[in-house]
Amino acid sequence: MNEVLIIGGMALVTFLIRYPVLALVGKIEMPKRVMDALRYVAPSVLAAIVVPVVLLPNDKPIQQPADAIPALATLLAALVMWRSKSLLATVMTGMAAFLILRAALLSLGV
């Protein structure tokens, strides 16, 4: 079937994105300005992943109480991280809050 073609092609392009820059840039001296700018990649990408998931659940603005659960749980997770500095504690509380809020809303029939 097409599976071999699809998976082989996906593996190849993904590797060709990840590896060459890694191999090249180490050999070339990057200007300090570029390096300073690249420092913002990590926080920016993370924000770009999280914000739409939280504020546009199912690609729509928050309308019902259930839609607001990810936002509430994320807010709590951010607070836990800020106070505890523990990523594991953050994941645990965030997930627990998410599941508890959802179960509570389900049981209320909202």
Partner: protein, 241 residues
Amino acid sequence: MTAVSTPRSEFLAGMRDTFPMVVGGAPFGIIFGALAVHAGLSPLGALSMSLLVFAGSAQFIAVGLIAQNVSPLFIVVTTFVVNVRHALYSATLAPYLRHVKARWLPLMGFTLTDETFVTVFKRFEEHGATPHSQWYYFGSSAFLYTEWQLSTLAGIVAGRTIPNPQSWGLDYAATVTFTGMIVSMLRNRSTGLAVIAAGVVALIANPLPNRLGLMLAAVAGLVAGVIGKSYFREDQEVGHE
């Protein structure tokens, strides 16, 4: 710096720091495995994709396209668009990896993910590159790789018995982990500005296909960060290096 770092201690530190990401990522793998068999991929194909591609969001999108019988070429091109952000990750990490022997770089490239990138980047920012930093990297990426294969397998096995894998809401765990990482990176005002800019652009660009919004938002965050840095005069503070 702390105690003497050895390849072993670095590898274990990489694993330890990545553990929350592993917890957050496992549900994703399970859902991926289940969706893949629902989409008509063979169990071996689903596992091979995790083994050979190892890119969560691209795999999700590919499986969605496979379910719609889209041509292989289109799927491969889509994968490129979805994953192109990894080139930015490579460029960000490469300066810290200058001392690493060239033979390790293909394996590092192959196992590069969002999770390993942010974990390793944070480490390099705080500790600088150490002689064994490739082992920190591998501790992180090997842990995630193993988790991704095992969770994919679990999803494949469970897939047939679960009618609607996406409805569990467990994929939300990764969002929480990433939120924690953002908070831990908010060290100065320019980073805050970058986060806000990236978030706003990601919201506006959300309707764009293939996670193009993600790439746009990353660039917006980068630009905002650079502007913020000079506006808040952070370059006059003492840096890490």
